[in-house]
């Protein structure tokens, strides 16, 4: 196929050529960035929490009477016993926060008491000896808390943390050379030392927000019930009995005492709901970008079909002449395919530069990563194929123009 005559013909419909190339370029730029956003968001969403989400739910309980810490503590112990007796419940633990909740307690963790620069953030989970079994998180080193080690405290008190269990990620960051077991760390923000007695498998921090990304899997488990106006109970149902347990547990709590508030809206949430709430923005953004990309590709394809059809209609006579002079159907078909390919290549070349430029600008404006070239490559191939696919129908119609068309001069 000779390219020269195609270029010569293009000069005669310059505006249309430029418009298609421009449309391909803009579409590529937007679709590349949209796909990249989708990938980034889905990568966030698919991060593991480390807990056995399918059998887990959480009860958010407010104490209705202005209780003293002692009364809250007594009521919490009674609640925990009552919940553990339910047939549909496997285990229960008190909590101040939990993975994907969105807010909670985080502290800077120090390796020396007088470290000034705080460099390492971690979620602080107030737990008891049932927490690991409830969450379904296993220990990779060391031991669990014993029931006698579990105390209770109010938030302003110095943290009761002479023994702590830490997550794998935190252990590896703090002690890259060897085991964290038996090491002394400072988790309370003050100068009280804590000994690491166990290291858990993967356990996510309480928030999936971007500011926590670097510390997303840092967690310190402190053996204490936190006595505040709001208490969470993490409840693990027996396999397959999640719905029953979610019904039974609040009833059992109200049977214990009516002076509590469990909101109808978010008082009892399965971990599936917790996950949905935590990543709602990310999933929504991915859906939106997906819709925009699909509609955009469809409109660009339709635009190419429209303009090429017009060109075919305009050139029926020339096509007839070429056919009469010996060009085969295949020649005509490949003429239009090649013409589209040339326009497409120009378009994607501009589009690739545009895509990278837009991404660079977005990186400065928003919390966003650099666009990987693989996405540009995928986008380029997709748009070239889209163009060839779109031009196929008009090109086949052009190749069906009979040679006799040459003689029909109005």
């Amino acid at each position: 196929m000779q390219i020269k005559p195609i270029l010569a013909a293009m000069r005669h419909h310059r505006a249309g050529t430029v418009l298609i190339a421009l449309q391909i370029a803009l579409t590529l730029a937007i679709v590349c960035n949209a796909l990249f956003i989708i990938q980034q968001r889905m990568a966030r969403v698919s991060r593991p929490s480390g807990v056995d989400e399918s059998n887990l739910f959480v009860i958010q309980n407010f104490w209705a009477d202005q209780s003293s810490p002692q009364r809250i503590d007594a009521q919490m112990r009674a609640d925990l016993l009552a919940l553990r007796e339910l047939g549909s419940v496997q285990d229960v633990a008190p909590a101040n926060s939990f993975p994907m909740r969105g807010s909670g307690w985080d502290n800077f963790i120090k390796t020396t008491p007088d470290q000034i620069r705080s460099t390492l953030d971690s979620a602080i989970y107030f737990t008891d000896d049932h927490t690991l079994a409830t969450l379904g998180v296993s220990l990779i080193e060391g031991r669990n808390f014993t029931s006698s080690e579990v105390g209770s405290q109010t938030p302003p008190d110095p943290m009761l943390a002479s023994e702590v269990i830490i997550s794998k990620a935190l252990a590896q960051t703090m002690f890259p050379q060897g085991s964290a077991l038996g090491k002394t760390i400072y988790v309370s923000g003050g100068n009280r030392p804590s000994t690491v007695i166990g290291v858990t498998d993967t356990l996510q921090a309480h928030t999936v927000a971007n500011w926590m990304n670097e510390y997303a899997y840092n967690a310190v488990l402190v053996p204490a019930r936190l006595l505040t106006d709001r208490t969470f109970y993490l409840v693990r149902s027996r396999p397959g009995q999640l719905a029953a347990a979610m019904r039974d547990a609040p009833k059992a709590l109200f049977a214990q005492s009516r002076m509590r508030i469990i909101n109808r809206k978010d008082g009892v949430m399965s971990f599936a709901q917790v996950r949905k709430a935590a990543y709602g923005r990310d999933v929504g953004m991915a859906i939106l970008m997906g819709i925009v990309s699909l509609v955009l590709l469809a409109i660009t394809a339709a635009g190419i079909v429209g303009l090429t059809s017009f060109w075919v209609g305009q050139r029926r006579k020339q096509i007839g002449i070429r056919r009469a002079l010996g060009a085969t159907r295949h020649d005509i078909l490949s003429y239009f395919l090649t013409e589209n390919l040339l326009i497409g290549i120009t378009g994607v070349a501009i589009g690739a530069v545009l895509a990278l430029g837009i991404n660079l600008w977005m990186v400065t404006q928003f919390e966003m990563a650099r666009l990987s070239l693989a996405y540009v490559a995928i986008g380029v191939i997709a748009l070239l194929l889209l163009g060839q696919g779109a031009v196929l129908a008009p090109a086949v119609r052009a190749s069906n123009v009979p040679p006799v068309e040459a003689t029909r001069s109005v």
Binding site: T27, D65, S118, P156, M285, F366
Partner: protein, 438 residues
């Protein structure tokens, strides 16, 4: 003549229904995507108090110092104040009106034992709060400075809570029991919920449920009511309520009303003087690092508009541009196919201007049709926006006359702009050339 052109246009559009449909759809989708995302953006980025946003300021005082901060904070002081600095500002009162505030949550135990207790959330504020933020009252008023000083158990409740507890009757002067303590109601607010809730974007996203009550700040501190919002400490306090008040933990916001530039200047120099005093007293051992931001600067600093909202608006606008380029191409094809017709009309005496009118009229019809389609899609989009944005933000986006007008305007405007080049090309057709070739 215009009616005739419109008839001509309609006939021409009917001749290629596929091409016409394609253009209408491109315009419709492009406009709908832009308008739906714009409806969300408009809802979250608006100025909640436009007549006064330049006079309300949030002071920030650096209580953490350079070593207490994340290196990523760019030297910005924390976005809340500690209790000591707050009380110093409240005592010195360097503004015409000012309030300290923090969120509190309380349980309400109904007198009727058969009813379940429920929790309410609100703010501990001072008397100036109501005037500064121009909160409207259904019954009664806010409390006075006197009650702040006396640490009175007074409360202003929302109309929603008033409805729930008193069936909407005038409850001023009556008592309610919050956390086992009696409070006297002095005012019932009219439904008032500025969006974003600019006075507290530190502890909320700015778009959550509206507060149920307001109580005196001094009383809340007396009762040792813990904040229902964030508390950030650069070092752990010793333990107990008083140690927390003495600590550098930040959990409070102060708002000051500064009516003119001179007042702003006075307030700034007060802050600088205060920070310098603290340095001299050895409490802070770093140079003063204060900020004073008005409402819009504060909302911007706190990133109240979610970045998803901005990114999706930008992507949607890019989408609209592609749709327009598409429409330009299709209109060009459509108009140039009629070169002969144009040639004949020109030869019979039509001026270029007439050609312009004829083809722009045709394009406007595409614009109107695209606008109507865009309007339907926008309504559908805004209705189903909850699938994409979180519920409290989705609930804010709505279709109103402004949005309907803007949608039609953008659709028609965009189509006419898209039609300029094709129309210009059509008007350039040389009559002699077209006639000769046949």
């Amino acid at each position: 003549m215009l009616a005739y052109y419109l008839r001509l246009g309609l006939r021409s559009l009917r001749r290629n229904p596929v091409l016409t449909g394609l253009m209408i759809m491109a315009i419709g989708f492009g406009v709908a995507a832009s308008m739906t995302t714009f409806a969300v953006f408009r809802a979250v980025s608006g100025n909640p108090i436009p007549w006064k946003s330049g006079q309300l300021f949030v002071p920030q005082i650096d209580g953490f110092g350079p070593t207490g901060r994340d290196p990523g904070d760019n030297g910005e002081p924390p976005d809340a104040l500690n209790y000591q600095d707050t009380m110093a500002l409240m005592r010195a009162h360097p503004a015409s009106r000012q309030t300290a505030l923090y969120p509190v949550a309380i349980a309400v135990v109904p007198a009727d034992a058969s009813k379940q207790p429920f929790s309410v959330s609100g703010y501990a504020v001072t008397t100036d709060f109501f005037g500064m933020f121009e909160m409207p009252f259904q019954y009664g008023n806010g409390w006075g400075a006197n009650e702040d000083d006396k640490r009175a158990s007074t409360v202003v409740i929302s109309s929603k809570l008033n409805q729930k507890l008193f069936d909407g009757a005038n409850s001023v002067g009556r008592n309610i029991v919050l956390d086992n303590r009696d409070y006297r109601i002095v005012g019932v607010a009219k439904s008032w919920d500025p969006r974003p809730r600019y006075y507290d974007v530190v502890n909320t996203s700015g778009f959550g449920d509206s507060p149920d009550f307001f109580m005196p700040f001094s009383r809340a501190i007396d009762l040792q009511m813990d904040t229902d919002g964030n508390n950030n400490c650069n070092k752990a306090p010793d333990g107990g309520w008083d140690a927390w008040l003495q600590s550098t933990c930040v959990w409070l916001t102060v708002w000051a009303e500064l009516p003119d530039a001179a007042a702003v200047q006075r307030y700034r120099s007060y802050l600088d003087g205060y920070a310098a005093d603290q340095k001299r007293a050895g409490r802070y051992n770093w140079a003063p690092n204060n900020r004073l931001r008005n409402v819009m600067e504060w909302l911007d600093h706190e990133h109240v508009v979610p970045q998803e909202t901005k990114v999706s608006l930008l992507v949607a606008l890019g989408f609209l541009v592609v749709c327009l380029v598409n429409t330009i191409g299709l209109l060009l094809a459509k108009f140039m196919r009629r070169s002969q017709e144009i040639g004949v009309r020109r030869a019979l005496g039509a001026s270029r201007r007439e050609i312009y009118t004829q083809f722009l009229a045709e394009a406007s019809m595409v614009g109107v049709a695209g606008g109507v389609l865009g309007l339907l899609l926008t309504a559908g989009g805004v209705y189903s926006i909850g699938l994409v944005f979180e519920p409290e933000i989705a609930a804010l986006a709505h279709v109103d006359f402004g949005l309907i007008g803007l949608t039609l305007l953008v659709a028609i405007g965009a189509t006419v702009i898209a039609a300029f080049y094709p129309t210009w090309r059509a008007a350039q057709v040389q009559p002699a050339w077209q006639l000769k070739s046949n």
